[in-house]
Amino acid sequence: MAAPLVLHLLLALLLGSGGRSGAEPERDSLREELVLTPLPSGDVSATFQFRTRWDSELQLEGVSHYRLFPKVLGQLISKYSVQELHLSLTQGFWRTRFWGQPFLQAPAGAELWVWFQDSVVDVDKSWKELSNILSGIFCASLNFIDSTNTVTPTASFKPLGLANGTNHHFLRYAVLPREVVCTENLTPWKKLLPCSSKAGLSVLLKAERLFHTSYHSQAVHIRPVCRDAHCVSVSWELRQTLTVVFDAFTTGQGKKDWSLFRMFSRTITEACPLASQSHIYVDISRNSQENETLEVSPPPTSTYQAVVLGDRRTYAVYDLLNPATFSGSRSLNLQLRWKQFQDIGSQLVPFLHAQRYVSGYGLQKGELSTVLHNTHPYRAFPVLLLETVPWYLRLYVHTLAITTKGKENKPSYIHYQPAQDRLRPHLLEMLIQLPANSVTKVSIQFERALLKWTEYTPDPNHGFYVSPSVLSALVPNLVGAKPANWEESPLFSTMFPVSDSSSYFVRLYTEPLLVNLPTPDFSMPYNVICLTCTVVAVCYGSFYNLLTRTFHLEEPKRSRLVRIAVKNK
């Protein structure tokens, strides 16, 4: 099994070094990768990763010269002394229970978390300016990030790259669940790619198809990484990832088979000439040796086996830099045909998944519940749960209840930061031990606050979003994994640093919630003005009359007599 892998790596190395003819090696490199995974439900997920690595000190001021690394982001990092930046824009929700564990999940809407360097004096100011600039770069409403939706988690978001200290005062985290992601966000994201959308895998990024999907998530991750094995100096890594889930049924006219052309309405004709590595991986793990359940065409040049997300997976590998890939035809149109399709029922449910919902009736009180599932048959593991709740839902902390199998489950770590009206949200972080094969329910009651007239959103009857809870956990592996060479393994397996071989890191997000708040009738102020004016007018009028008019008795008899007298005359 290892022999083809080594051979493949050797080939990649040879090709890589052959591409650059002598001279000094460039200090930046690009790797691109597409992973196609047939999901248990029959859908297909496609994960693009573009990694630009730059062996340079970005933090140094002065003249800066960019080649593959985008200038805009580079300037941003050096100006705001950013240590790590993670931004994701997502439309739709990754259904962990049906689709399995994702390589990298993101919450619906926009998510931004940034670690600043410890030299930053005013973190809040930098955070505000940074989010405003990012909002301009990505055409997203990140400018709505302010103190009311920003939190500083103490444990959930550790730096993913190299970091000296992990003083969480330099971390800021915000989610905008209301954000709608569309083409205008994709275009600037594509512009950051060295090959733009002209060559290589990025040719497939056609907005029309990418947004016609069940799940669309695009992200930018910037972090410092080790330059080499000795880790003496730092390189900067920019990862642009894009995950889409195609509804195979609707795009494939009822069949679960798929091809690149059917999904993206494009095929690949060439690799990006700037990339030092350009691979397509197709997950063929379900093709067990006894019976062939699926068939990929053209046949792959090599396969890659690894323990990914706790399970042993087999991938068919297509190297776009290898001219043999395109030898058959001018373009590469990957196809997958099912010989026999397994149903969802037979599939393994992921070890960790969660749901969240809001319950209660009326417009005064309610309850937030998060249900965590551990489906591992015999291993218990701890989960870090992070909840951020906006200030207008006033949490009753004494009602916090964590129950597993009907018994109370005491969290081993709990951090609660109460909200301040119009200033900051609630932050609740807990480390909860999930027993094997169990369901844990975390619930907390809240009261809805009344907002000021101008604080309501333009369509308040739609409801107010509550950002999803975040679960971070080290989930035990099903099979033991060998520690792999970080720089040489495929990109999808190197997003999170792996500490030991028996477990893998997972970060999951639950659904965002939509809560109705008591909403007034917005024509009310005018009604009130009119009503008070009328009341004033009526009261004042009669009062005025009473005071200024003089009243005296009339003698109606006399006047009548006069009239009669006149008549009789």
Partner: protein
């Protein structure tokens, strides 16, 4: 009331006490109505006024008004040194003395502009005499002792003997790279007057030429004075960002490498360090792949090359601009310099001017935006089977083009001198000191003009629209701008260019801050119909009864007076 208002009906049988009571009642009613009216006027009106008032801090309106019609006097201090033998003896004895020459610059607006050259004549000292014993003019210049006043904007002119061999025979004067010039003397009668004219001409071309004033004042000059080519330099700003971009639309055939680090360090950095008086500069560079021009070049069969015609150049920039990336981290204007390596299918590519001839530099610039240069790959490089072809850009010609474009963009065109002037070579950095001075003159005048416009239009706006809130910070910025501009004007007329420039920059910053303060807009768009919608239901029922009873009281009073007259 009406009924009771008809007294003395014939045949009325009212008993006297009842009548008296009615009368007092009437008077009481009158008093009550008056009371209401006075309360409404004394209490209600001020209360309403106070609560609905917009806060407007006091502004120096009169001073701003004066700015519009102020007199701007630009004083250029020139020290004129006569070398032994450059003047007739009679005239030499009159030295030292100072001549002032003032010139009016006609402007379209009320502002007045005067250029004042203050020529301080004196004889040369022994040190200076010694320097002129040298053989060539460059050596003489180098040997000169450092002048006492070598400040921004000042000039030193040396008058050398008429027969001196320092200057070539046909040249009248020499202008050096520093703030120094040499003028050939004369021995004719009235030598000082003749020399005065010559010196003035030299001094003018080194400082306040018409071009400089045109660049600074733009629209304010009468039409016939505006220079013919509408070269508009970059607007004055506190800083500039310079971005060099290498466009490689065809990375499959070309692997382009450029040594931008070295080029910036060797050519651009020294050039900009001389300009650092004008603003801060930051530089960066990037390489953009697959960035195409917006125009497909035309194939020219005769020379088997591709051409970009002059008329299509305006369409070149837009599609590229989308890829250049926005300035993320500062608000300074960006100057772009693009080096375009045409794709293999379109090379070699040449730019044609309006007459159809090839542009020698293969480059063009767009005012206030930047410059583009086309860099053709040596065709012999294609005689290979291995692609991409490695291309090493020769940065010297590229930087020459970019630097000359940079001069144009900043408004330092190559100096045009009369025939009989000899122009010294610029120093290694590429800019003569007096060229920088000319730029600073232009920028200072431009700043002053901008501030005057900004402040007057702000004052006009605030005067016209009463709804605008003027906060204290806006007011203080306005005061600061007015103070700074006045200081700048004073310094200009005193000849301290550097200080004047600094003050004028301060004034620009403050005035822009005041003008663009977001607080000005807060109540600007509060519509009047909404205001009336609130006021009418409140005021109409209150005001109408008061008005009616007032009218009635007045009418009754008049009637009563008439009655009294009748009785009389």
């Amino acid at each position: 009331m009406r009924k009771s208002g008809l007294p003395w009906k014939p045949g009325s049988l009212q008993p006297a006490p009842r009548l008296a009571r009615r009368k007092t009642e009437k008077i009481r009613g009158k008093h009550a109505a008056l009371c209401f009216a006075t309360m409404a006027v004394m209490l209600g009106l001020p209360l309403w006024w106070k609560t609905t008032e917009t806060y407007r801090a006091a502004l120096p309106y009169s001073q701003i008004g004066h700015l519009d019609s102020m007199l701007l006097r630009l004083r250029v201090p020139v020290s004129v040194v006569f070398i032994q033998g450059s003047l007739p003896i009679v005239d030499q004895q009159k030295l030292p003395f100072t001549v002032v020459n003032e010139r009016d610059v006609p402007l379209k607006c009320k502002m007045k502009l005067k250029c004042r050259f203050q020529l301080a004549y004196r004889m040369a000292g022994s040190h200076e005499e010694k320097a002129f014993k040298k053989d060539t003019i460059e050596e003489a210049e180098a040997a000169l002792p450092l002048p006492k006043e070598d400040t921004l904007g000042s000039l030193n002119i040396f008058v050398i003997p008429e027969k001196s061999s320092l200057l070539p025979k046909d040249k009248m004067s020499y202008i050096g790279p520093k703030r120094t010039a040499f003028v050939r003397g004369t021995q004719v009668r009235q030598a000082l007057t003749v020399m005065g004219q010559r010196i003035l001409q030299v001094a003018q071309s080194m400082s306040l030429t018409d071009e400089v004033l045109a660049a600074a004042l733009g629209d304010r000059l009468p039409e016939d004075k505006v220079s013919l080519d509408k070269r508009r330099p970059l607007k004055s700003s506190l800083g500039y960002e310079i971005t060099f971009s290498l466009l490689n639309p065809d990375p499959k055939s070309h692997e382009v490498h450029w040594d931008i680090e070295g080029a910036v360090e060797n050519y651009v950095q020294p050039f900009l360090s001389l300009l650092s008086v004008v603003g801060n500069f930051s530089m960066d560079s990037q390489i953009l792949y697959y960035a195409m021009l917006g125009v497909t070049p035309r194939f020219d069969a005769a020379s088997s090359s591709y051409t970009l015609a002059a008329y299509s150049l305006p369409h070149v920039i837009n599609p590229v601009e989308a890829r250049l990336g926005s300035r993320a981290t500062s608000l300074y204007p960006v100057i772009n310099f693009l080096l375009y390596v045409p794709e293999r299918a379109h090379s070699p590519l040449y730019i044609q001017d309006k007459d159809g001839a090839r542009v020698a530099t293969n480059a063009f610039h767009s005012p206030r935006w930047g410059g583009i240069m086309v860099y053709n790959v040596d065709p012999s490089a294609y005689n290979t089977t291995k692609y991409p072809v490695k291309v090493d850009v020769d940065m010297v010609p590229v930087m020459e083009v970019f630097l000359s474009q940079m001069r144009l963009l900043f408004g330092i065109p190559p100096p045009q001198m009369p025939e009989n002037f000899l122009l010294g070579d610029p120093p290694r950095e590429g800019l003569r000191s007096w060229e920088v001075d000319r730029l600073v003159w232009a920028r200072t005048v431009e700043n002053v003009a901008t501030v005057v416009t900004t402040l007057t239009s702000l004052a006009e706006l605030l005067d016209k629209i009463g709804n605008i809130v003027i906060k204290d910070n806006v007011a203080s910025e306005v005061y600061r701008a007015v103070d700074a501009i006045q200081e700048a004007v004073v310094e200009l007329s005193a000849g301290n260019l550097e200080l004047a420039f600094r003050y004028s920059r301060e004034a620009v910053t403050s005035s822009e801050k005041a003008f663009f303060d977001p607080s000005l807009l807060h109540l600007l768009y509060f519509p009047d119909d909404q205001k009336f919608a609130i006021y009418i239901p409140l005021f109409l029922p209150m005001a109408v009864p008061i008005f009616l009873s007032m009218i009635k009281i007045i009418v009754e009073n008049q009637k009563a007076r008439k009655d009294i007259e009748k009785v009389d």
